[in-house]
Symmetry: C2
Subunit: 174 residues, 2 copies
C-alpha cells in the first residue's frame, strides 16, 4: 500500500470523526430547541424536510471548513463543484459522484448511482415515495458546503430508481 493511500485513509478517518461529532451536535441542538418552541408549534409549522435540510446545511458548513483548511483556492464554480463531487463526497459517502453535468449557466446535476443513504432500501421502485425524507439532509449538506465556499444555491434531489439519485444544484447569482 503506497504512502499516499495511507495518508488518504488517515484523512478519511479524521473526516469521519468530524461527521459524527457535527451530526451528534445537531441532533442534540434540535431536540432541545424543539422543547422551547413546542408552544408556538402551530404558528411556525416547520416541516420535517426543512428541519432535516437545515441540519444538513449546518453539518455541511462545519465539514467543508475542516476539509478545505489546507486547500488552495478554487478557480471557478465548476472547480468547486468538481471538488464537491470527488473529495467532499468521498469523505462523507466513501464514493465519488458518478456523473456531473452542467449547462454552464449555473445549473449542475450530480448523479450518484448507488447513494449510501438509500442502500438500506431494496432496489427498484417499491419504496420510491419514502425517498425524499432520506435526501433532505444531503441536499442541505451540499447547500451548506457551497455556502461556506461563497456560493448561495438551491439544491433539490430526485430518485427514479433506488438506490440511484440525482441532485440538482442551481447557483444563485447575487
Amino acid at each position: 500500500m503506497s504512502e499516499n493511500k495511507v495518508v488518504r485513509i488517515r484523512a478519511r478517518n479524521m473526516a469521519d470523526d468530524a461527521l459524527f461529532e457535527f451530526l451528534h451536535m445537531e441532533i442534540v441542538a434540535h431536540m432541545y430547541k424543539e422543547q422551547v418552541t413546542r408552544e408556538d408549534i402551530d404558528k411556525e409549522r416547520v416541516t420535517c424536510v426543512s428541519t432535516l435540510e437545515l441540519m444538513g446545511f449546518r453539518v455541511g458548513q462545519g465539514l467543508i471548513e475542516r476539509f478545505t483548511k489546507d486547500c488552495p483556492t478554487f478557480k471557478d464554480d465548476l472547480d468547486v463543484m468538481k471538488f464537491l463531487c470527488k473529495d467532499f463526497w468521498s469523505m462523507i459517502f466513501k464514493k465519488q459522484i458518478d456523473n456531473l453535468r452542467t449547462n454552464h449557466q449555473g445549473t449542475y446535476v450530480l448523479q450518484d448511482n448507488k447513494f449510501a443513504l438509500l442502500t438500506q432500501f431494496s432496489s427498484g421502485k417499491q419504496y420510491l415515495e419514502e425517498a425524499p425524507k432520506y435526501l433532505a439532509f444531503s441536499c442541505g449538506l451540499i447547500r451548506g458546503a457551497l455556502s461556506n465556499l461563497g456560493l448561495e444555491s438551491v439544491v433539490t434531489a430526485e430518485v427514479s430508481l433506488m438506490p440511484s439519485c440525482k441532485f440538482q444544484v442551481v447557483i444563485q447569482k447575487l
Copy 2:
C-alpha cells in the same frame, strides 16, 4: 505500516459508514414519528434525554451487530465489557476507554479521560450543566450494544471535569 494496521484502518472505515448511516436513519425516523404524535404530546411527555438515549440504543444495537459478525463468542460478562471498552469504543470514538473498574457483582465503571463528544466544550467546570444532554446518546449506545449481546443493563453517565467522563453500567440479572 504493517498489514495488520491497514486491515484495522479498513475495518474502522467500514464502521464509520455504519455509524453515519444508522445515525441518519434514526434522525429521520424520529422526525417523522414526532409529527404523528404531536397531538398527544401532553399525554406522553417524552423527555429529550430519553429520546436521545433511545436513539443511541438503536444505533448501538445496529453497530454491534456489524462489529461482532465474525467475532468468537464471549466467555463471560467481563469479557464482553472489555470488548466494549477496547474495540467498540475505538471504532466509534477513535480511542479506547482509559479505565475499567468492576465490583465483580455486575457493576462496571468505564472512564474516558477525553470523551470525543465533550471535546468541543472548553475544559473545566464552566459548561458542566450542559453535559448530560451530550451523554444520553452514548449511554444508549452502550445499553444497546450490551442488549444485543444478551445483557440487559442500566447505564448512567457522570462528568465532574470536562472532557473527562464516567459511564456506570449495572447489569440486570434476570
